[in-house]
């Protein structure tokens, strides 16, 4: 009979978040992300431009395609490589605790990464009349996209001992599911299957949020897709038992 127990995920999440602040990679990723979003904001922050963040939000998704793989590459690959997975899994914690904890830790770091961009909102408030609806939905969207990207990054990190391999694989998958369908969508002549792919893409779904539309279908899509990758990661962790 399994004994009911509270999840240890927050303990793992806290350690994971803490360890980000010891890693130069995380700082580099944070610096580049903020620098690039700052530049995009500056570009839009002109007299006569609409008072909104829609285009910055769209750019942020592009940045996350490259930033999240770097943030997630070490999550499990590092544990395999250094052998700490053995101490972790021989403590009384389950695989779902570990996966959920790592995911929550990374998501928390993503929030830290996004926090400074709230300054953009403050600047908009100083110089114009801000419609907070689309900004709220835009942030909700970026967090959902980020969560999905982290789940994909975590999954890739669980497959290998090499952080580089994990990062490259994750970046390739994110590129494939985000940027390729977006590019397809820009072809006006597209019909049939490929039009379908473009319409159902992550980026297309995301633009609903940045426009200010919170569609239940999109919400469900992001949450379900994230859950699928977390589930797969749990299975990969468990797979050491099948060998």
């Amino acid at each position: 009979m399994p004994v009911p127990r509270m999840t240890r995920a927050p303990v793992i999440a806290r350690r994971e978040l803490g360890s980000y602040f010891f890693s130069p990679m995380a700082y580099v990723a944070m610096f580049l992300f903020l620098l690039a979003s700052g530049l995009f904001f500056w570009n839009d922050f002109q007299p006569g431009q609409p008072v909104g963040m829609r285009s910055i939000f769209d750019w942020m998704v592009w940045l996350l395609v490259f930033v999240t793989p770097v943030l997630c590459m070490g999550l499990l690959a590092q544990e395999w490589a250094s052998g700490t997975i053995e101490t972790l899994m021989t403590a009384p914690v389950g695989e779902p605790d570990v996966v959920l904890g790592k995911f929550m830790g990374s998501l928390a770091f993503l929030l830290v990464l996004l926090a400074p961009t709230l300054l953009f909102v403050v600047m908009l408030m100083l110089y114009g009349d801000v419609d907070f609806g689309p900004i709220f939905s835009g942030y909700l969207g970026i967090v959902l996209v980020g969560a999905l990207f982290i789940a994909i990054g975590l999954f890739c990190s669980s497959l290998t001992r090499s952080q580089v391999v994990a990062a490259v694989t994750a970046a390739a998958i994110l590129f494939l599911v985000t940027i390729i369908p977006w590019w397809l969508g820009t072809r006006a002549t597209l019909t049939g299957f490929w039009r379908g792919v473009a319409d159902e893409s992550i980026f297309r779904r995301y633009t609903d949020f940045s426009k200010g539309v919170i569609d239940t279908g999109n919400l469900v899509f992001f949450i379900a897709a994230t859950a699928v990758f977390l589930f797969l990661t749990v299975k990969v962790l468990e797979s050491r038992r099948w060998k």
Partner: protein, 329 residues
């Protein structure tokens, strides 16, 4: 406390652990001895619930490692080989994290962390970053972690590998002190470690248990006999013949090592005599050498070492299974 029955682990085509069974009573320190690749780490990983066995089973503290994995892990402290740690954390911070993972409340954590830091001589490095510590200190951090929740059973995989001689002595002393309160199973391929620390040894080779017993029992097992070394200056052949006539001598071998020689040009010959059971041939051998007028330098009774025993049993196993190590004659 630890009970293993018919435990087997197969990786793909390789049989890593082959139907092993043993019991470890409460408070005993057991050395799990074997050459590299014998299946030691695999067995320990199964016992710590890191991976399940292919067949067979084990119980720790009466709890089944497969069906009651979480409870087993609550009762278990494990120090894996090479001591993996989160190197970016501070010692105290790491132990606090491990305590939280084990659901210890704040007060218990504080008390136990102080206790294990003290017990493992880590108090002066408690605020240091683990990555900056020497190998010896990291080993102790790993041990402190294993002890943190005061587990009934400690499983240590090669706890002294990579330490300098002083650190090895300190670690062994610590492990020995921990026996009694905790049931300890440690793996090693270093024989003096078993003699220094363990109440009992289980020798494993090629995935099978080839011998077990106290270090004394292993040493005096029938395969192993004492031998007498005689070193003198004389012609090798004649020395051999003369000594083989001494009553009670079963067999004479000439040792050609750095001390061996042919007896000419003032070189010394060393002969190893295997006495028959119950004979002490030292006096008689010395008298024989003196009678022949060969200058005698040394007559010494050499007790069988655990090392010799180990080489014998593991080599036999390797030959039997057709793999690995060459037999040492």
């Amino acid at each position: 406390m630890i009970s293993v029955s018919q435990l087997t682990k197969v990786y793909g085509q390789t049989l890593a652990v082959d139907h092993i069974s043993f019991d470890v009573p409460k408070g005993q320190i057991v050395g799990f001895l074997g050459p590299n690749g014998a299946g030691k780490s695999t067995t320990l990983r199964i016992l710590t619930c890191y991976m399940p066995p292919t067949s067979g089973g084990a119980t720790i503290n009466g709890l089944d490692i497969f069906h009651q994995s979480v409870q087993v892990r609550q009762n278990l402290g494990y120090l894996p080989e090479n001591v993996p740690l989160y190197t970016e954390m501070r010692v105290e911070e790491y132990l606090d994290f491990r305590g939280r993972l084990r659901k210890m409340d704040r007060e218990t954590r504080r008390k136990r962390i102080d206790y294990v830091l003290n017990r493992c001589w880590l108090t002066n490095v408690r605020r240091r970053i683990i990555g900056h510590l020497s190998k010896g200190y990291r080993q102790r951090v790993g041990l402190a972690d294993a002890l943190l929740h005061d587990p009934a059973v400690l499983i240590l995989d090669e706890p002294t590998v990579g330490l300098d001689p002083t650190q090895i002595r300190e670690s062994r002393k610590l492990i020995k002190d921990l026996g009694g309160d905790h049931t300890i199973m440690l793996s090693t391929h270093i024989l003096p470690e078993v003699e220094a620390v363990c109440d009992r040894a289980i020798v494993i080779a090629g995935g099978k248990i080839v011998a077990q017993g106290t270090p004394d029992e292993l040493r005096s097992s029938r395969r192993m006999q004492a031998r007498v070394l005689v070193e003198c200056r004389g012609p090798a052949k004649e020395v051999e013949t003369a000594l083989s006539r001494v009553s009670g001598v079963h067999k004479v071998e000439l040792l050609n090592g750095e001390r061996g020689g042919d007896g000419k040009d003032g070189h010394y010959v060393t002969a190893a005599l295997r006495p028959k059971d119950g004979y002490d041939v030292r006096e008689e051998a010395a008298r024989t050498i003196i009678q022949h007028g060969w200058p005698l330098r040394e007559v010494r009774l050499e007790h069988a070492t655990l090392e010799e025993f180990f080489v014998q049993v593991t080599a036999n196993q390797a030959v039997a299974s057709g793999t690995g190590i060459l037999p040492v004659s």
